[in-house]
Amino acid sequence: MTYNTSALDGFAALGDPTRRAIFERVAARPSAVGELALGLPVSRPAVSQHLRVLKQAGLVRESPQGTRRIYRLDPRGIGAMRDWLEAHWTTALDAFKDFADAQADEETAA
């Protein structure tokens, strides 16, 4: 199994509201396509298409169960979440440093 997903893929994949709704359903309970399509305002083929994108992003994976394929969260997607958080905290702390240092400079100048 290769690991070629990235946080960006995951993030982009979840940018679509329908796809996010499908992801949340999979996160709540491993499900087949038909179950996921129930209650969603999109066709079953559309759900399959969204699942394909989520799978490519490493957020869900599928496994056969009898004649059905069950979709569940892919732990690699959690790795992508970690990558995203890492980038997020780097950006946030850099921003905090700029802010705090500007305060220090103002206080020194005052």
Partner: protein, 152 residues
């Protein structure tokens, strides 16, 4: 399954007490724009200054979106926050990951260290999660029924 924590450090010019204060009480002024989960951009980011206090964003219209809560409030040296935003970018009260900030004197300023840990909890057993959510609904529905009855 355990996932390595995220650890980041940054050196700032102000003393620890000031760094703690700027970090915790003026978050809205430095938190990156667009790095929030509310429907509208954040106007304020608030950490209530006590254990159990809420950590949330507020938009210009006053709508609040919770991010987590305060686990330990120990100025000037330590702040421990519960980050409760799920992989679906929603506040999830059943998810608790920890973000610990320490503020240590260094080179006339402060070394700020951030550790975000228990990341494996993002992938907590989905079945148990669903069960908890399911278990929550009867309580909420009962509360709703009670309220509705009171209004009748």
């Amino acid at each position: 399954m355990s996932i390595a924590p995220i650890i980041r450090t940054v050196q700032v010019k102000v003393a620890p007490a000031r760094a703690f204060d700027l970090f915790a009480t003026r978050m809205a002024q430095w938190w990156p724009k667009g790095g929030t989960i509310g429907k509208a951009p954040h106007a304020d980011v608030i950490i209530e200054p006590r254990p159990g206090g809420r950590w949330f964003e507020r938009d210009a219209e006053g709508n609040e979106t919770q991010w987590g809560h305060v686990l330990a409030w120990e100025p000037p040296s330590r702040l421990l926050l519960a980050w409760q935003i799920s992989t679906a970018w929603r506040y999830d009260p059943s998810l608790v990951t920890e973000v610990e900030l320490t503020f240590a004197p260094a080179d006339g300023g402060t070394l700020v260290t951030l550790e975000h840990r228990h990341l494996e909890r993002f992938g907590a057993d989905a079945a148990a999660h669903a069960q908890r959510l399911g278990g929550g609904w009867p309580t909420r529905l009962a509360a709703f029924a009670h309220l509705a009855d009171a209004m009748a």
